[in-house]
């Protein structure tokens, strides 16, 4: 694990405002990415993290379709159909970029060279199991893309998601009921309600947003601890 320890060293309950919105959540993830990291941002919500990285962060973005040094989404004349990200969105190239083929790109991932990847999820278990590729619905067409490769490849896997589904059931669960993407791979879980550290020792709440550790503990089916406990 390469991530910096939590800056506060103890659990912080942010009660002055409500749960984080998607932008606020992306800002928290960006804050926790160490300077100079090599980072892969998954399709969808994780791409918002890029907007919150400081210009001098030295963070280098990897896209699994064969590029390091990916820049922001391309606009207008800069759109080039040969230059896209994993979500097939036209992007740009930053100075110091490089291109490589798919086997090299995934060797980079599988070989443990990426410091952090940020993914979305349907469910995450208390020990860090990840389910983010398949709802298990019988009529769904399975499609995995690079999710399993990222899950086992990056030194740290961060997940961004809402803590509760629309029906109020927690998505941080004792055991994933959706098909798994990877075992014990998520180290940090960033949600609108709280930031969790996950690992073999279980779930630690590092921060809460508009709620308390005790309130969360009452709503979750996994035991949670505070930092330093």
């Amino acid at each position: 694990m390469t991530v910096i320890p939590h800056p506060a060293g103890r659990t912080v309950e942010h009660l002055g405002s409500g749960p984080l919105d998607r932008d606020g959540l992306a800002a928290v993830v960006a804050r926790d990415i160490p300077r100079g990291s090599f980072v892969n941002l998954g399709i969808g919500q994780p791409t918002m993290v890029a907007d919150h990285l400081a210009a001098d962060s030295g963070v280098v973005l990897h896209t699994e379709n064969g590029m390091l040094g990916m820049g922001p989404a391309a606009q207008g004349d800069a759109v080039d159909p040969d230059l896209i990200n994993a979500g097939k969105i036209p992007v740009t190239e930053l100075p110091g970029a490089s291109y490589f083929h798919h086997a090299d790109s995934f060797a980079m991932m599988r070989g443990g060279h990426l410091d952090v990847c940020v993914l979305g999820a349907y469910q995450v278990s208390g020990r860090g199991d990840l389910a983010n590729w398949h709802t298990g619905a019988p009529d769904a067409i399975p499609a995995v893309g690079g999710a399993m490769d990222l899950a086992i490849g990056a030194k740290d896997v961060f997940v961004m998601m809402t803590l509760f589904a629309r029906d109020g059931t927690p998505k941080l669960v004792p055991e994933c009921t959706y098909p798994l993407t990877g075992l014990a791979c998520v180290s940090r879980l960033y949600t609108d309600q709280a930031l969790f550290h996950l690992g073999p020792d279980g779930v630690t709440v590092a921060e809460t947003y508009g709620t308390t550790v005790d309130e969360l503990a009452a709503r979750l089916d996994v035991p949670v601890r505070r930092l330093g406990e």
Partner: protein, 225 residues
């Protein structure tokens, strides 16, 4: 020796029914659309197609699927906003699907091209995609045994070729092309332009000519049409 042609139909001549066809591209970037269209005209059927996606819209790979030529798709991400052709065939039970994690897709083709018999891969351990596969713990980590994917034919898109068959690509359109070129018995590349032998810098060649059997020169194809 590599054959350079401006005729799409000549480029895909002789592809047999039942072939395993590797088709490059990630979405449309690097997708050899002209070659796939020629393959539809050529008529080979009962194909197994290996490609990252399972077709977009109604052209290229989607048109090949719609023409009923594909028995089985091996890909990482069939489901896309514009994959209605595949979706319909799949839901109607008219096509087989093997979903492979994207890195395993690349590495299994790389293994085929590199003469590796099989490899232990950490991707997918504990997931449904590893079910029924052989497992082994090495140095305390679990791995799944994965086998090569070899193509009878590879259809790839590149940017520039020379007359000997060396290829360079452009930006993220490189993607699966260089790997597929090594993994097939017959590799056919469509390129935007062909230059004389010696014009490509030997330091920057991405796919050496040994991996390329035929080049379709799109600039010549357009000039002729």
């Amino acid at each position: 020796m590599t054959v350079v042609t401006g005729e799409p139909d000549r480029a895909v001549d002789g592809i047999a029914d039942g072939s395993t066809v590797l088709i490059g591209g990630f979405g449309l970037a690097g997708m050899p659309v002209t070659l796939v269209e020629a393959l539809i005209r050529q008529g080979a059927t009962d194909l197994t197609v290996v490609s990252n996606n399972a077709g977009n819209g109604d052209t290229g790979l989607a048109a090949l699927l719609a023409a009923g030529r594909v028995r089985k798709m091996i890909c990482s991400f069939p489901r896309q906003s514009d994959s209605w052709v595949f979706d319909g065939l799949y839901r109607a039970g008219k096509i087989e699907l093997e979903v492979v994690p994207q890195g395993n897709l690349a590495e299994r083709m790389r293994a085929a091209g590199a003469g590796i018999g099989a490899f232990y891969c950490p991707t997918g351990v504990g997931t449904p995609l590893a079910e029924g596969k052989e497992k082994r713990t090495i140095d305390g980590r679990e791995y799944v045994l994965e086998y090569p994917i070899k193509g009878d034919v590879a259809l790839i898109g590149a940017h520039t070729g020379d007359r000997m068959g060396n290829l360079v690509y452009r930006k993220t359109a490189r993607n699966f092309g260089p790997v597929m070129a090594t993994a097939a018995a017959l590799t056919i590349a469509q390129v935007s332009q062909v230059v004389e032998t010696g014009e490509l810098d030997p330091e920057t060649v991405v796919t050496p000519c040994i991996h390329v059997d035929r080049i379709l020169d799109l600039s010549a194809a357009e000039a002729a049409s």
